[in-house]
Amino acid sequence: MRAFRGNPAGQSSGLGSYPVPQAVITASSLTKKYKDFVAVDGISFEVAPGESFGLLGPNGAGKSTTMRMVGAVSTRTSGDLSILGLDPNDHGPEIRSQLGVVPQQDNLDQELRVRDNLIVYGRYFGIPARQVARRADELLEFAQLTDRAKSRVDDLSGGMKRRLTIARALVNDPRILLLDEPTTGLDPQARHILWDRLFRLKEQGTTLVLTTHYMDEAEQLCDRIVVVDKGAIMAEGSPAALIKQYSTREVVEVRFGSDRNAQVATQLDGIGERSEVLPDRILIYSDNGEAALTRIVERGLSPMTSLVRRSSLEDVFLRLTGRSLIE
């Protein structure tokens, strides 16, 4: 099955090795309106086979609505959308049969045991019972839940439930896996286990489309992301390219106390390429963070705390929207 097939020799999952990659998802001017509210406002993007594509944005940016339209469970208001060459308006069930969906909130079947969740879900796709039983065992292995096969769903930890949901999404051997905020609400350890599983899928050439408001997640998993805010795309590119384009190599974070930050900011002019004043801290963008910090101290300013770090997608988002990703 596709999710478990290693790449045949001479064919990598990377974009470049496909002669003419035909997009598995093509959206153009995709729009979704609910009465007066515009959830998705004319966004356009393409996803190539084997690509790992991310929608990064804060809550309410229209990520989930976009995912629902791509998942053929929500009808677009206008624009064009093609999933695996088919229009979801006319071919919903055919498209859904080739997708794996990990929704934002787990909707596992609480009345069924862990393994039965996989089997029953496979049956929804019309997969023969014997085939789906074999598949379920493979997926339990993949999700590291083999020893929990007979457990109640309720008894699983948050991370385990999430892994089971991902395993369930793979039961029909999907051509595209859609993940809506796959690690939101998980503790760091559970997130890393999950990332590891998703990275394996990516390595095997599964097309991943994920939404997230965690920049580290996007950086870890995505070949290419679009930054969305208020239903529109703000920027597009690989995480590294976006950071290069919209931020400096490093950032200095300094805190002078909530009352003083704004006041001190005026005295930092000329240090770094630019700065952002947030309620709790000041960010100074510079290719050499340590040097910038030294200059701050030289001006006689003594921050309560200081941190020099690499730029992240958080900084890109801040630059593009003037707001933080997680508010």
Binding site: M1, P103, F125
Partner: protein, 278 residues
Amino acid sequence: MTTTPAAPSTFTPPSRGRLLGSIYAGNSRAVLGRGLLATRTSNYWIILSGFFEPVFYLLSLGIGLGSLIHGVTTTTGQVVSYQAYIAPALLAVSAMNGAIYDSTWNVFFKMNYAKLYEGMLATSIGPFDVALGEIAFALLRGLLYAIGFMVVMQVFGLNLAWTALLALPAVLLIAFGFASLGMAVTSYMKTFQQMDWINFVMLPMFIFSATFYPITVYPQAIQYIIEVLPLWHGVELVRGLTTGSLSWGLLWHVLYFAVMITIGLIFTTKRLKALFLN
């Protein structure tokens, strides 16, 4: 990955005619199968308890009140014992109760809290598959109660004619009708308070639908109202069959339930589509 590469899957996505293509994948048995598997974790005693309600009515009213009443005239003019008069009505009620139980409260929970249908409809399954599968599952309980009750009737000698055998397909039809309409109505419910309206309708319908006495005791206007309600049709149909008071008029009751089933399926499907494929 520790697993060996498996053979490519051999199943093909179902493709249907254009008309039903987006709402029906021909796979309602997967939904029904899920329901059956889920009963493994449910409490059998609770399921069983629903069966006893009409039995208690039969014992209390049939024996108690029945000792004071000597014969009741059915719609076709046949005079039968009081027990034989109310037993078929209670048979229809047991089918109704079983069907309503799963298609209302359980569906309400699955729809609003367990997010079950949301998960189902993210697969290649369509809303008509879900409607048909869930309704089929709900009617099974009604059928189960009814079969149990038929055995009780046989033991008490209340099946007066061989046509009582036909009461089985009849209760299947009745359970199907109630399950179908029950799920349709439930799909429009948003709160627990609204769900209580179902009970508010069910109880008077149970008492007044020629269950314990002929509706001819009412003024004509009230009779018309009762004849619009589904349980009266169920009671008359089953009573005709178990007492052997056959007439072509019974076919009207069959037609009534056929229409009820159709309406329920259409509205349930429409509603599932509106809720989960919007």
